[in-house]
């Protein structure tokens, strides 16, 4: 057998490698260099010194503290939910199952807008209470408090825990529990001696995931938190955009990157022990309807919590978008498309919808090209260093959006890559996140194709190119489509990186929502609601397409 030193397919690794080098590692290196020039009150300040400064120690402490508290609160609410999800059959469970993915995929700015619509100073609950009790001031003053964004974090991560722990739970409990019962264990003993120990990997891994999400949470805290509540992400943004202290922002970015990598490394290590993923649900459940009164009450209480936590903010968002002082109105939607004097934009805000669609399409194309290129190489056997390449490609997923956005503005502003005013900047940044997603969708599909199929095609006379076209592509069409929808959705909702690089005259929808929400006045608030509702609709449609594309598992 002849074996060539490097198969032809390995040249397909080149485009994704160059892309990562230019738009990921290069900015990272710049951040590293820049952080060495940081000064604080005229004193040089390396990241190590930063840790000694009490201000920044407080920022780091607050970041950890809020993430831990968010995780704890999420689990307090979601564990009982996971139990009923795993154990009981009830009406509407299928709807709940489908709908429970919605909060998780909503763009952060939409979530922030929805919570403002529900509980903000001019939100629905306050408006109703003021009318009902004839009050002069809103009775619920939760805006700019820690409680407000903690609530939004719980909203975000509740369904994640529900799905991961719930699915895991439904897979282990039945027979192990029965075996324990037959050995004389009471239901209580079964829970503490068997179920809980078996659930530990799922709980640990989902808790770490929730912690990571909350640790790098940016849009939610920026929009719902108060001035004193600064996490590392928000502080990077403040230093870079408001104070223009780039070296300081770089130092903080470096710290954030180190924490992110550390947390991700931990997550991957834990994940090896419990091979679970958020979308994997291929195991049958043994469920039954609740029988005793206690069970029914418990189920009902959980469903009420789910409704209040997950549904009411989104309903409030839609309601607020259609309500002005005089009741039902489409005013906020209509004004999105007219050029208003005194508006926060130079162009009609509706333009942001077109911008977002354009950027999302460009991102999808770029991410698909890079993804197909990378997976074509990675799925063929006998290419060395595949594991390393895979890790490199997935690295951007372990990097916070804010540090990537910051990396872009300090790197791509001078030759050879002066992209300051280029429309390409946003699709490039979005592709950095979308392209690893595409790889994650495609690689398993490509690897599941038996290599014998390609050999059979070759023996029948197909050239490598035609094998790819006639064998690989048709068998992975569905995965390609899933990856495309993912890339599109990621781009539509991305806020962290975009907030650094969006030009004033070409805002994306999340950036527009952020600007509306940062300004006072009913009109700005209403338009934020309208724009958020549209973005939510687009996201949900994207997700419905995904559900259709993912084969139903029986």
């Amino acid at each position: 057998m002849r074996s060539s030193p490097l198969p032809l397919r390995s040249i397909f690794l080149l485009p994704p490698l160059l892309f990562l080098l230019a738009f990921y590692f290069h900015p990272l290196l710049q951040i590293l260099l820049l952080s060495n020039t940081a000064e604080f009150r005229g004193q040089p300040l390396s990241p190590a010194h930063l840790l000694e400064s009490s201000v920044y120690l407080r920022v780091i402490w607050f970041t950890f503290w809020q993430a831990a508290l968010s995780t704890l609160l999420t689990f307090l609410l979601a564990l009982p939910g996971a139990f009923i999800y795993a154990r009981y059959d009830f009406r509407g469970k299928k709807v709940l199952r489908a709908a429970s993915t919605v909060p998780f995929v909503l763009p952060t700015v939409v979530t922030a807008a929805a919570f403002r619509a529900l509980l903000g100073a001019n939100g629905l609950v306050n408006t109703w209470l003021m009318e009902l009790l004839s009050l002069q001031h809103p009775p619920i003053q939760i805006e700019q408090t820690v409680a407000f964004f903690l609530l939004a974090h719980v909203f975000y991560n509740y369904t994640l825990v529900l799905r991961i722990v719930g699915e895991y739970w439904s897979r282990i409990d039945a027979r192990a529990g029965e075996a324990a019962a037959m050995l004389g264990a009471s239901p209580r003993q079964i829970f503490f001696r068997v179920t809980l120990p078996l659930l530990t990997p799922a709980i640990a891994s989902s808790a770490l995931l929730v912690f990571i999400f909350c640790f790098t949470s940016f849009g939610i805290i920026l929009l719902l938190g108060g001035p004193g509540q600064t996490t590392i992400e928000v502080e990077i943004y403040r230093q870079a955009v408001h104070l223009f202290n780039l070296p300081m922002a770089a130092s903080l970015s470096l710290i954030q990157i180190l924490f992110n990598f550390g947390l991700m490394w931990l997550y991957v290590r834990i994940g090896r022990k419990s091979p679970l993923s958020f979308f994997a649900d291929s195991f049958p459940m043994r469920t039954r309807p609740p029988r005793r009164l206690g069970e029914k009450v418990f189920l009902a209480a959980n469903l009420i919590v789910m409704f209040l936590l997950l549904a009411t903010p989104l309903l409030a968002l839609i309601t607020a978008s259609f309500t002005d002082q005089n009741g039902f109105s489409t005013l906020y939607y209509l004004t999105l498309f007219t050029n208003q004097s005194g508006s926060v934009f130079a162009v009609p805000a509706g333009q942001a919808i077109c911008n977002s669609l354009f950027f999302a399409l460009a991102t999808t194309v770029l991410a698909l090209v890079l993804g197909l290129s990378a997976t074509t190489a990675l799925s063929s056997p006998r290419i060395p260093g595949q594991a390393l390449m895979e890790t490199l490609i997935l690295l951007p997923l372990a990097t916070s959006a804010v540090t990537m956005g910051f990396g872009f503005i300090v790197t791509l502003n001078r030759p050879p890559l002066d992209l300051r005013d280029s429309l390409a900047l946003i699709p490039l940044a979005h592709s950095l996140v979308a392209f690893p997603f595409v790889v994650r969708c495609l690689l398993p599909a490509l690897r599941s194709i038996p290599h014998a199929l390609r050999e059979a095609a070759a023996v029948l006379g197909a050239s490598p190119g035609r094998i790819w076209y006639h064998v690989d592509m048709p068998l992975t069409a569905r995965a390609v489509a899933v990856g495309a929808v993912f890339a599109f959705s990621v781009s539509m909702g991305e806020f962290g990186a975009t907030s650094f690089i969006a030009r004033p005259h070409t805002p994306t929808m999340p950036v527009a929502i952020f600007r509306f929400l940062s300004r006072p006045g009913d009109m700005n608030f209403g338009q934020a609601m309208a724009m958020s509702s549209i973005l939510m609709l687009v996201t949900i449609i994207g997700f419905l397409v995904l559900e259709k594309l993912t084969p139903a598992k029986s």
Partner: protein, 350 residues
Amino acid sequence: MAPLEIQDVSLATKEEILLAGISLTIGEGEILALLGPSGAGKTTLLRLVAGLEQPDRGRILFHGQDISGTPPHQRSFGMMFQEYTLFPHRDVAANIAFGLEMQKMERHRRDKRISEVLELVGLHGFDRRTVDSLSGGERQRVALARCLAPRPHLLLLDEPLASLDLQLRERLANEIRAILKRMAITAIFVTHDQSEAFAVADRIAILHEGRLEQCATPEEIYRCPASSVVASFLGFRNLLPPDTDDIQELLAVKDAWPAHIRAAAGNQEAMLLIRPDAATLTGQSPQGPDAIILDGVVERRRFQGRFYQLTIAVKSHRLIFDMPPEPLPPGPGEAITFRLDPAAIALLSS
């Protein structure tokens, strides 16, 4: 008083009847096999006895006491499952210790008991092994040891060997019987494999579509299947309706047919069973006056190792027999004259 009495137990879902009026009694120290095809209700019946399910109707008595209201963990029954119910977060010894911990047994007595049962199932020294490091056969031995350790009053085994390969299954079936007999334990053993049931059980209860078809010793079941359902489940293929003309002709010609079978001629309900081991070549055995001799043509002869399987056309019927390889039976197309053993012919209710 029998340790376990199942009295007229029924269970149904909205879609189908799972168990229809099952009554069974199990004697002290007896091993009863529940045998039947999948979906027959064997496992459901076992889970009712365990208390993991509740019957719609009927009672289950343990030493004369109705145990319907007793939850599974207070019944002191042991149960061995088909596969994968060892606790993955505990090692071998800790798995076996579980039931003993539930009994609050002191540590040193517990450790002693663990080595006793490990010795019993032939896994001496496996204490600290993790569950994943065990082979399928070792896992099931540990599962058995875990059930036996708390000295259950009744042992329930739900297809414990189904996930193992054939050789191992045969060996473990024999070992399980030996261990249960040594401990004089009363047990119910669910299986869909008749040879496994024959190897393990004192008595066999055959279930079909939620009904009890027959409950008897293996010998009785083999010799006299109670119904055509039982006969076809045991793999018997020579089942003839005795009311057809040519069977009547067969019966009439041969005075040698047993009287009760001749009497059944014309009975619409009955079925005639001729077991595969009923036929011998006429040259082989002395022919008495009461011998049943039949003539036919061999359609197919298949070598099966210990015997030849012959398909023989007798008038319009096709009968299948196992015949010894020596002397060589006639081949396809050749005429054959053979003798039927009257003891290998049974009359079944349909």
